[in-house]
């Protein structure tokens, strides 16, 4: 269980995963925030109001998968670094794109090869960096997108440069 180990189990992950038909349409966010903590920057970060908190700031964020465009504006705003963007509609067969916040140095460069790690920090595979966004407005939280095997999209959650 997440609360004992810090590792989200596949069972715990289910409610925040977009349905298959939404995944096929292109980029969408996965918000891995499973605890009622007082925090809401993701709500105001979303330009299309796809993130809601029903009963106030300590509620968990609810993402409307259909409204979400996968733009990634929420990713660097999350203080818990808990938001990921998955893009299953990638033009390389068998591959998908995964975007995440990255706050370690060095920040990788586009096309660099990095280690893709799972939720326990274990090596999964080598992955190519497809994009790095790190503007001043992100205040030193880079958003790194890597190309990963499509069938490992829910396992990979970190990188080692």
């Amino acid at each position: 269980m997440l609360k004992n180990t810090g590792i989200i189990t596949s069972e715990e992950l289910k409610p925040v995963l977009p349905p298959q038909n939404r995944l096929e349409k292109g980029p969408v966010a996965i918000i891995e925030c499973l605890q009622d903590i007082p925090c809401d920057p993701c709500v105001s970060a979303c330009p299309v109001k796809a993130i809601q908190m029903q009963s106030g700031i300590t509620d968990r964020p609810q993402l409307d998968f259909e409204t979400c465009t996968g733009c990634g504006a929420c990713v660097p705003k999350c203080p818990g670094l808990a938001i990921f963007i998955v893009n299953m509609k990638h033009n390389v067969p068998g591959k998908a794109l995964l975007s995440m916040s990255y706050e370690l140095l060095p920040v990788p460069a586009k096309d660099q090869e990095v280690d893709a790690l799972d939720r326990t920090g274990k090596f999964v595979c080598k992955a190519k960096v497809a994009r790095v966004i790190n503007p001043p407005a992100y205040d030193r939280t880079a958003v790194v997108t890597i190309e990963v095997p499509a069938d490992r999209i829910n396992d990979i959650r970190s990188i080692k440069v």
Partner: protein, 365 residues
């Protein structure tokens, strides 16, 4: 030499800065003293983004919040005097206090004092816990984020509250290996997103474990952990040796309360708030009517709530001198509403209990 002020704020952390800013903006002559060289308290080492409401400071790094507060202090400088490297050393009768800077002792005559002394770190009892290389998490953060010094190469973290989790993350950012995080409880104490963040960078989290002893002769060379049962007793034959050169203790904080005791404020022990705290009402006024409290000294919480408590104390202290003010009332109302929201939900439960107990005891006075 002696100084004269309307409001005397002790402590330049998030609570004290907020109290001094509000009091001086409302129009009170205010003196703020802080015993360190740089204003901001713990904020100056908090490089992570804050949680909370985006109406306030959520998503902003603590170090940036410190800069924002310091700018407000500067803007209020016609009414607000700041003395750094200056400690408040005692309360005397007739609304007087003593302050000690590096080269001078002075008396301060005030009308209302707001004491925001913060907290001190707890330690933990285990064999060899006095070896060089064993630090409190606050000390590690100061070394690393204020002075740019790595405390070690391989660190073992003890305590899974938000401080333990966040400092572990900051150590990883500084390029220090975190060999593990130990927690006596079966569940992680801090926010789970912080735990996942360090877990996916490869840090093992040992819940239901404790540290039995530190190894080494002249410095830390390792630690022995073991599993604990539901009554926190070591389970035999579960010992685990971990190699490390540094052990970081993040096992809670205790309010710093000496000045309240000297000011003859009534104290109450509330476990949920970290121990003994001065009794205070919803205006943050203690049982000594000239002394207000805010921040961790009023109960261990975090910086955002400390700032809001400071704003309430600043506004009410102003009113205690100048009488009712609609502007002060509006500040208090706004801060109260934000506090209510921040403390709602399951993670705010313990704080709510603790604060209710303080208010109930005050009512009984």
């Amino acid at each position: 030499m002696s100084r004269n002020t309307e409001i005397f704020v002790i402590g330049g952390g998030p609570a004290g800065l907020s109290a001094a800013i509000v009091a001086s903006q409302l129009g009170a002559r205010t003196l703020l003293v802080d015993d360190s060289a740089r204003l901001g308290g713990q904020l100056i080492k908090q490089t992570h983004r804050f949680f909370g409401s985006s109406n306030r400071d959520a998503g902003i790094r603590g170090i940036t919040i410190a800069e924002m507060l310091c700018k407000e202090v500067k803007d209020a400088s016609d009414r607000l005097t700041v003395l750094e490297n200056t400690a408040a050393v005692g309360f005397y009768a007739n609304k007087e206090a003593g302050i000690l800077s590096q080269d001078a002792y002075e008396r301060v005559s005030y009308q209302a004092a707001i004491v925001c002394t913060g907290a001190t770190e707890n330690s933990l009892t285990f064999e060899n816990n006095d070896l060089p290389g064993i630090y409190g998490a606050g000390g590690v953060q100061t070394l690393m984020n204020v002075h740019g010094i790595k405390p070690g190469r391989k660190i073992l973290m003890v305590g899974s509250g938000n401080i333990g989790l966040i400092v572990s993350y900051q150590l990883l950012q500084a390029g220090v290996e975190v060999v593990g995080l130990v927690e006596g409880m079966p569940t992680i104490g801090g926010y789970l997103v912080h735990a996942s963040k360090i877990r996916r960078l490869g840090v093992p989290i040992y819940t239901s474990h404790t540290i039995l002893k530190a190894l080494g002769e002249t410095g830390v060379e390792g630690a022995v952990l073991c599993r604990v049962d539901e009554r926190f007793q070591p389970v035999p034959n579960t010992e685990l040796m971990i190699e490390c050169d540094c052990i970081c203790l993040a096992v809670g904080l205790t309010p710093l309360i000496d000045l309240f005791q000297q000011a003859q404020c009534r104290m109450v022990h509330v476990g949920e708030l970290g121990g003994l705290v001065p009794l205070h009402d919803s205006a943050m006024r203690t049982t000594n009517p000239d002394v207000f409290v805010a921040g961790d000294a009023s109960g261990i919480e975090e910086a955002t709530t400390a700032m809001l408590g400071g704003r309430i104390a600043g506004a009410r202290a102003f009113e205690s001198i100048h009488g009712k003010s609609p502007k002060a009332e509006a500040i208090v109302e706004e801060a109260r509403e934000e506090l209510r929201t921040l403390r709602s939900g399951s993670t705010g439960e313990r704080i709510r209990w603790g604060r209710e107990r303080v208010l109930k005891e005050v009512g009984a006075c």
